[in-house]
Amino acid sequence: MRTYLGHVELANPIVTAAGCGGSGAELAQFFDLGRIGALTTRSITMAPRAGRPTPRMTETPSGLLNAVGLQGPGVDAFLARELPWLAQRNVRTVVSIGGGTVAEYTALARRLNDAPGVTALEVNLSCPNIEDRGRVFARDGAASAEVIAAVRAVMRYDVPVVAKLSPDTADIVSVARACAASGADALSMINNPLGMSIDTETMLPSLAAGTGGLSGPAIRPLAVRCVWQVRAALPDVPIIGMGGVLTGRDAFELILAGACVVAVGTALFHDPSACLRVLRELEEIVAARGYQRLADVIGLAHRPPGATARHRTDFEESSL
């Protein structure tokens, strides 16, 4: 079930979400990484980062709050060890990057430019801009666009640059539009909305960091809405959809909304082979609906109600 992220072909539309698939080696114990569309790395930063204090996670209804704080080894160690490990095994790799300034994102892109094995570059815009009182880039179109333009300018033309957006904004479409206009080859959504939980026993925040990112099925309605809105406004920009995908049905929902690639995040914590299961279920669902190509169903829910779905391989009367 091939799909395309810009001009890059992926064997199938199921990838891991940034920060949820470890370095790859952990998942490789459970299945052959070559069988998923791509592995997305955690967001790589220039310097090594120890992340946030613990507790870093707590459960919420159908959700997970995390405040890991981009713990990671830094770009040097990533290039020295993690990326070559993936490249040797021919694992399609979407490298996610995170920075605190436009210059830092640019420097990261420059470092990754010559590295073999970068299938696409995902720019995690949900990082606080240290030059703007810690306001998260993804909140606003101009700040996001500035990062994307800078990264696009230094990154090899044959590596798609993907802008990863957050639902914590007044208007996701305008942020998406700004990113696309400044050169993003694709968009990825949604990153975790900011949430919080308070431990009613200690009467203090459950996470050491106070607030954290919400993930899991609780946020799927937000993800579907964001993908839907952006697809409606920018039908030609490829979208990586994510947020609470546990099953093939959930992936199909995001695809119907307009995603051509679907990332699985939190579900991996419950089931390390979730990607393969989701892929299998998705294939079954698409086939059961009478379609053979993924392209036939991407964004299909945008057709006017009452209109028959096109491209079906059977021509029986449908209940649509």
Partner: protein, 277 residues
Amino acid sequence: MLTTRQVDAYHALTVLAPRIAEGFRPGHFLAVAVGGPHTSMLTRRAFFIHDVKPDYGGSVEFVFAVDGPGTAWLAERRARDTLDLVGPLGRPFPLPRDPVNCVVVGDEYGSAMLFPVADALQRRGCRVDFVLGGASADRVFGAKRARRMTETPTLTTEDGSLGVRGRVTDALPGVIADVRADVVYACGPMETLRRATAVAVEFDIPIQVAVEERMACGIGLCMTCVLPVIGEDGVTRMVRACVEGPAFRGERVRFDDVGTIPFDALGAPGGGSRNVS
């Protein structure tokens, strides 16, 4: 497929799980999905493996206290229900090559996972002495089995309802001295491990501890279960309890800094290299 029993303040579940039983080494844990289909509880719950039996191709037993909704759900499981398990997980305890004197220190349900450790030690010809404790008599797990396995296990309770009044770590120095212990194995709350480590350091003997941190995945993906541990190279790193642990050499764990990012940890904010937030 499972069987259940109540052991004082704890529940014990035995589950048919040949693959986990086969791969088991003392110190391993497993992760259980809770809540059933369409539950709102997303994350698996981690439990140390208490026992592994060859019945029916291999079964594993774990012991738990009801704490929140996930363990409450588990406590309601009945014979013949099925459970969704992942395991065995974690780095098991390293065992000594030579027949040395070992003290095994378990606090509350932490005791449960130490029985397979003690078994393995005894099989290697080690002398094993137990120090088991809990808040009250019904929270001291495994006193009976400890009595069967060894001569005089030391039991402690905070309320004095069983054995010596106090904590396991209060009794530990006496036991170490008595038996001329060469090494300590410990499992229990972080505070117990911290104290046990302090005792072992004082006696200048190695200690292996099995730690517990909140875990979202248990398989090294999520980075939520970290604690500051000093590496061979002397550098403190935030390492994952689920894959680099849960067994650690006690002296390497910076217990006083658990729940913080020590300023000298690799990648700590302000720690030399600039950070994004």
